[in-house]
Subunit: 317 residues, 2 copies
């Protein structure tokens, strides 16, 4: 694992959803050898490539290396896991053929406890994680619109950033994706929960509402703050001192979003999988494991779980 990370790495993108298509296409366009492992919509991507639209540009990646199996791809320098955490059971089968002696595996998944399932398959020492602050939607197979390019915060699983972390970040930067190597991935994940837990959660549990509705409702707005406080208290017990001013920042940021539909609400409405365990379940379990009561967070978890169970068959979790 001490080899230098190559300047033009061989990259596998596991999953061709919005994130996979967007980052994969950018990395390919920058000259990297990018292989996509695509479960559904592969024929369309092979035939028509990947089209990306951003506020600044449009581009068309005509020739896409799209594969049906990991064996067809073989070992890579970097494997980017961009399937939802809810599909993680398949990783034990998908990842091994992609791993060589120096392969790094980067998961872009949301929530807490998403590096662990990857580490179980490939070993923790090659695992990286990233938090993607980005607004990107897939409108058809291989067709993505990026409304908000944002940035990627990249870190090592259980370790501070290393030279290889900065190397990977540099490849993203070279591909036109703002990317920062960070020393404390775990803390970043807790910080992202400060927004995701209340807003993604209440958007679903309060009957399908946008963030402006939550902000305008006195009870829900107070509840958001109480949920944030529970997250902060739990994070603090794990050594992550998130200042209370970070909560205020979230409120300010959310006010500016206006009538915003959190991604989990979109997924919920469209019958897609939701990271129930990673965003709500795992934080509850971790908080309880260190004796921090999180009654509202747990209640929210149960209500979302119930809402998911009530969706039509085949659309659950």
């Amino acid at each position: 694992m001490s080899a230098t990370f190559p300047a033009k790495p061989r990259i596998a993108i596991v999953g061709a959803g919005a994130l996979g298509c967007y980052y994969g296409a950018r990395l390919a366009k920058a000259g990297n050898e990018v292989h996509f492992l695509v479960r559904s919509g592969r024929a369309a991507i092979v035939a028509r490539g990947i089209r990306v639209k951003t506020p600044a540009e449009r581009f068309h990646l005509k020739k896409v290396l799209a594969h049906a199996t990991a064996e067809d791809i073989g070992p890579c320098d970097l494997v980017i896991v961009s399937v939802k955490a809810t599909a993680n059971a398949a990783l034990a089968r998908i990842l091994p053929p992609l791993i060589g002696p120096n392969t790094l595996v980067l998961t872009l998944q949301n929530g807490l406890g998403v590096e662990e399932p990857v580490a179980e398959v490939v070993g923790g020492e090659r695992v990286l994680g990233a938090i993607c602050f980005v607004g990107v939607t897939r409108t058809a197979p291989g067709v993505v619109t990026c409304a908000f390019p944002g940035l990627v915060m990249l870190g090592e699983f259980g370790r501070p950033a290393q030279s290889r972390t900065r190397d990977v970040a540099a490849r993203f930067e070279a591909a036109g994706v703002k990317c920062e190597a960070q020393d404390n991935l775990e803390e970043l994940r807790w910080k992202k929960l400060v927004w995701n837990v209340p807003f993604n959660g209440l958007a679903i549990a309060a009957g399908g509402v946008t963030t402006d509705v939550i902000m305008a409702d006195e009870g829900l707005r107070t509840l958001v703050r109480r949920l944030m406080e529970e997250i902060l208290e739990a994070a603090a017990k794990f050594g992550h001192a998130i200042p209370r001013s970070f909560m205020d920042l979230q409120f300010e940021r959310t006010t500016k979003l206006g009538r915003y539909q959190p991604s989990s609400l979109i997924d919920f409405r469209e019958g897609r999988a939701i990271e129930l365990e990673e965003i709500w379940g795992e934080p509850v379990r971790r908080a309880k494991s260190v004796g921090v009561p999180v009654p509202r967070l747990e209640m929210l978890y149960w209500l979302i779980k119930r809402a998911l169970a009530a969706r039509p068959a085949g659309k659950k979790r």
Copy 2:
């Protein structure tokens, strides 16, 4: 207030909903002089009377004394308030003409803090309250079906039962309504909340579900217990020692109910008023006033409040 309560009292029923029609018709059938103050549907009740269907019998009260104003009724021995607590603002206007020197005013309303608005108008010393364990629905003006006759628990506002309390209970019993005079009305109200808060509340907040769904969902079932524990803890601070076995009893009872639609859910779905403040808001405020944290109860209160706000205009509480 020391006069003996008459054997055949003159009674005013304020409100001709399910409870008002049912108890009023029973009391009239038993030979009491019962006057109904009816806001809507009066013509139908005058023309066709009140029809009652119970598991054991059917009866038709043909001649109903239905009035449009309290002035038309005048002073009574007993005034039964059977409008929803959400209509309490009108009591200051409705009650005074019905009050004589020895008039008792009995409120059948649900929740906490329902005697106080009556006491503000007529003075606390003449106020009684009752908790009605009954399943009765109004299908049309003056037409009620009683699926479960149950019983009425009757008490004094802030005092133990007196001889007059037992007198009133006896009038109910004579009219075929099982009725017990109780020494601690306030404690009874907390006990009723042990069921009403979680089941009526989650039926609405969990997306419109019947009790069997709540009981079958592990998260919701656990949440019911946590909510009950919060109620018990708050009640205990007010000197009401409700044993934990009372919770188990509620679970047993609810299992037997099967696919039961709590009354608040029916009201919610039909766009009718819901006792948001009496069942959820007031317990939160009282618990906080004595330093008992009730995070789940408060969250439930906010979620129901939001659900009510989301109903179409004109249906809001």
